[in-house]
C-alpha cells in the first residue's frame, strides 16, 4: 500500500497530517476521493477547476462498444436536493474513447477507473477484452444498471442472476489482476443478495449506489418531464439511502472493497460514507453544483479525519460498526455546560 500523503496543490499549512491512501483490493490509491461515473465526462473539463492528479482517481463516464447518441431531451429535471437524469449513455464508443480520452488522461498523469456499460452480456465481455490491452486502466467499474436488451429491458443490476452473468463475462475477458467493481442499483429488495452474487462472479468489490429510479411530471405540459419518462435520482436527497446500502454491505462483508457514492457534497458527507464502510468515495452530482467539489471534499475529509484524531484514513473505514461502548454509568455530577 502506498503511503503518500496529499501534497502539492491540495496541501495547506493547516491541513492535519493524515495518511489518506486507500487500498481497493489490489488497487492502491494515494487518496480516497474519486469522481462518479457520468458526472465528470473523461476528466478533461474539470482540469481547469482542480488538479486531476490530486484526487484518488477519475472514474470515466460509462462507455459502450459503439458510438451512442443517448436519449432525446429534456434529459434532466431538478428535484428537491437532487436531480433526475436520463442521458441514455451518450458517448463516442470504446475505440474513440481509448484513443482520445484515455490517452489524454494518461498523458495528464491521472489515475483512471474506466466504467463500462452494455446492452448484452456479450457486449460487456467485448468491452473488457478491448480494455485488456490498455495500460493506463487502473480498474474497471462495471455499470450494470443498464437495460438488458435480450430480456425485455430488465436492468441487469436488479436480479442476482443477470448481475452475476455480466460480472462473470467481464472477469473472464479481463486481466485476472484487474480490479473489477460492480456498480449496484439501490432499486432492489436485497442489495446484500446482489452483492453476494457479483462477488461470487469475480468482482473485486462493489460501487454503491447508482441512481434511484424516479420520475417528475411537468405540471404545465401534464406529461412526464423527461423524454425518457423515468430517470435516475441523484444528489443529497438520496444520501441516506446510499449510507444505508454501504452499511448493509459492510455488515455482511467485513473486508470487501467498497466505493461509496450518492449525494456526497462535503467532507463530512464523505466521512459518513467512510464510517459506514466505504474504502473510497465518489463525488457525482455535487460537481454540477461546484466544479471543484472533488478536490474540496478531499481536503475537508482530511481535516475532518484529523479533527477526530485519525492518523490514517484506513482506520476510519467502517468505524461506525465498532461494538457499542460499555454502557456508561451516567454520573449526573459530570455534566457541564460545555456539552450543551
Amino acid at each position: 500500500m502506498t503511503r503518500a500523503l496529499i501534497k502539492g496543490p491540495v496541501a495547506d499549512a493547516a491541513l492535519p497530517e493524515v495518511d489518506m491512501s486507500t487500498s481497493l483490493g489490489g488497487l492502491a490509491l494515494p487518496a480516497p476521493i474519486l469522481t462518479a461515473s457520468g458526472c465528470a465526462a473523461s476528466g478533461r473539463e474539470l482540469d481547469q477547476f482542480f488538479d486531476l492528479t490530486s484526487i484518488g482517481a477519475i472514474v470515466t463516464k460509462s462507455i459502450m462498444l459503439n458510438p451512442r447518441s443517448g436519449r432525446a431531451t429534456p434529459r434532466m429535471a431538478e428535484t428537491p436536493s437532487g436531480m433526475l437524469n436520463s442521458i441514455g449513455l451518450q458517448g463516442p464508443g470504446i475505440d474513440r474513447f481509448i484513443e482520445h480520452d484515455l490517452a489524454w488522461l494518461e498523458e495528464r498523469g491521472a489515475r483512471v477507473i474506466v466504467s463500462i456499460a452494455g446492452g448484452t452480456v456479450d457486449e460487456y465481455g467485448k468491452l473488457a477484452a478491448r480494455l485488456r490491452t490498455v495500460r493506463s486502466v487502473a480498474a474497471i467499474e462495471v455499470n450494470i444498471s443498464c437495460p438488458n436488451v435480450e430480456d425485455r429491458g430488465q436492468v441487469f443490476a436488479c436480479r442476482a442472476g443477470s448481475a452475476s452473468d455480466v460480472v462473470h463475462a467481464v472477469r473472464r475477458h479481463s486481466d485476472p489482476r484487474m480490479p473489477l467493481f460492480a456498480k449496484l442499483s439501490p432499486d432492489v429488495t436485497d442489495i446484500v443478495e446482489i452483492t453476494d452474487a457479483v462477488v461470487r462472479a469475480g468482482a473485486t468489490g462493489v460501487s454503491v449506489i447508482n441512481t434511484v429510479l424516479g420520475m417528475v411530471i411537468d405540471t404545465d405540459t401534464m406529461r412526464p418531464h423527461l423524454a425518457g419518462v423515468t430517470g435516475g435520482l441523484s444528489g443529497p436527497a438520496i444520501r441516506p439511502v446510499a449510507v444505508r446500502c454501504i452499511w448493509q454491505i459492510r455488515q455482511a462483508f467485513p473486508s470487501l472493497p467498497i466505493i461509496g457514492m450518492g449525494g456526497v457534497r462535503s467532507g463530512k458527507d464523505a466521512l459518513e460514507f467512510v464510517l459506514a464502510g466505504a474504502n473510497a468515495v465518489s463525488v457525482g452530482t455535487a460537481v454540477f453544483h461546484d466544479p471543484s467539489a472533488p478536490s474540496r471534499i478531499q481536503i475537508e475529509l482530511q481535516r475532518a479525519l484529523g479533527a477526530r484524531g485519525f492518523r490514517r484514513f484506513a482506520d476510519a473505514v467502517g468505524f461506525a460498526h465498532r461494538p457499542a461502548d460499555l454502557p456508561r454509568e451516567e454520573d449526573p455530577d459530570e455534566f457541564d455546560f460545555i456539552s450543551e
Partner: protein, 284 residues
C-alpha cells in the same frame, strides 16, 4: 479557461420586466468575449436547489474599485431566478465563467444584423461594440411580447446603425415579429452575417432567413443545463458537423453559439434517426 470565483452582488436594479445584476467577478470579467455565459450557484448553502443557473454575460468592466465586475440581465422564470433578483448588495455569489464558445466575429468590416428576442439582447451589446470597432455595419432588431420585455433599446440605438423594434402586441415599434423585418433589412444593407439570441423558434426562423439571403448566421441557443461545463450531457441538440454527420452536441461547451445552418432546428428535442449512434430498431 473558466474559473470559479466567489463574487459579490454590487447592485440589483429593475429594467422593465427584467433585473440587471452587477457582480464582482475577478478573474472572469477580464476574459469575456461576446456570447460567453456564466453560471451562478443558487439559494445558498442549505438550499434544496442544487443546479447552477446560466446567464449570458451582458457587460463587463474590468477596472474600477471592485476589480473586475460584470452585469447580467435576469428574467424571473422560476424559483432560482426569483431568489437571484431578491439578493441584496454585498451578498456573496458563486460564479463560474466565462463559459461556452462566443460569437465568431467577422474578419472583414462586413454588414451585420443583430437580432435579440426579450433578454436575448443582453449579449448583443458587447458584440455591437466590438463589431463597430472593427468597422462593421451593425443593424439591430429587438423583439419581445410587449414593450416591457424589450431590454436595452435606448442604448442599443446608440451603438447601432439602425434599430428596429417589434412587439407581438404592438406596444412599441412594429407589431409583429423580428423575422417579419429581418429579410428586408438584410436586403437593404447587404448583410453578410446575422447574430441572434432569443427563443428557439426565433433562432430557427432567423437561421432560415439568413440562409435564404446567402448570409451566415450565429445563433446563441438556450438549453436546460445541469453542469454548464461539459461533463453531464444534458444540454445537447442535433448539429450537423463539417463531415455532414449529425451529432448530439453540448450547448454548454460546443455552443451556446452555433452556426445557424448547422443546427437541425426542427429536430431539437429528438434524436434524428441519422444521428451518430442513434438507437436502431434492433439496438439499444
Amino acid at each position: 479557461m473558466a474559473v470559479q470565483v466567489r463574487g459579490e452582488i454590487l447592485d440589483v436594479r429593475r429594467a422593465g420586466a427584467y433585473h440587471v445584476l452587477s457582480l464582482t467577478a475577478p478573474g472572469i470579467s477580464e476574459n469575456v468575449k461576446p456570447g460567453h455565459f456564466l453560471t451562478l450557484g443558487i439559494g445558498g448553502e442549505e438550499s434544496s436547489m442544487l443546479l447552477r443557473r446560466a446567464f449570458a454575460i451582458h457587460r463587463v468592466q474590468s477596472r474600477g474599485v471592485y476589480g473586475g465586475t460584470l452585469d447580467i440581465v435576469v428574467g424571473v422564470h422560476g424559483k432560482g431566478t426569483k431568489w437571484l433578483v431578491d439578493r441584496r448588495r454585498h451578498d456573496p455569489i458563486d460564479i463560474v465563467g466565462p463559459l461556452g464558445r462566443p460569437f465568431v466575429l467577422p474578419k472583414e468590416p462586413v454588414s451585420t444584423v443583430l437580432v435579440g428576442g426579450g433578454y436575448g439582447s443582453a449579449p448583443l451589446f458587447m458584440l455591437a461594440e466590438q463589431m463597430r470597432e472593427r468597422g462593421c455595419r451593425v443593424d439591430v432588431i429587438l423583439g419581445a411580447a410587449t414593450e416591457e420585455k424589450l431590454y436595452g433599446a435606448l442604448e442599443l440605438k446608440r451603438l447601432a446603425s439602425t434599430l428596429t423594434i417589434t412587439t407581438d402586441d404592438g406596444s412599441l415599434g412594429q407589431r409583429g415579429r423580428v423575422t417579419d423585418v429581418l429579410g428586408s433589412l438584410m436586403q437593404a444593407n447587404d448583410t453578410a452575417v446575422v447574430y441572434a439570441c432569443g427563443p428557439m423558434p426565433m433562432l430557427q426562423r432567423v437561421a432560415e432567413i439568413a440562409s435564404d439571403h446567402q448570409a451566415y448566421s450565429q445563433c446563441a441557443v438556450e438549453e436546460a443545463m445541469a453542469c454548464g461545463i461539459g461533463v453531464c450531457m444534458t444540454c445537447v441538440l442535433p448539429v450537423i458537423g463539417e463531415d455532414g454527420v449529425t451529432r448530439m452536441l453540448r450547448a454548454c461547451t460546443e455552443g451556446p453559439v452555433f452556426r445557424g445552418d448547422r443546427v437541425r432546428w426542427s429536430d431539437v428535442g429528438t434524436i434524428p434517426p441519422d444521428t451518430l449512434g442513434a438507437p436502431t430498431a434492433g439496438g439499444h
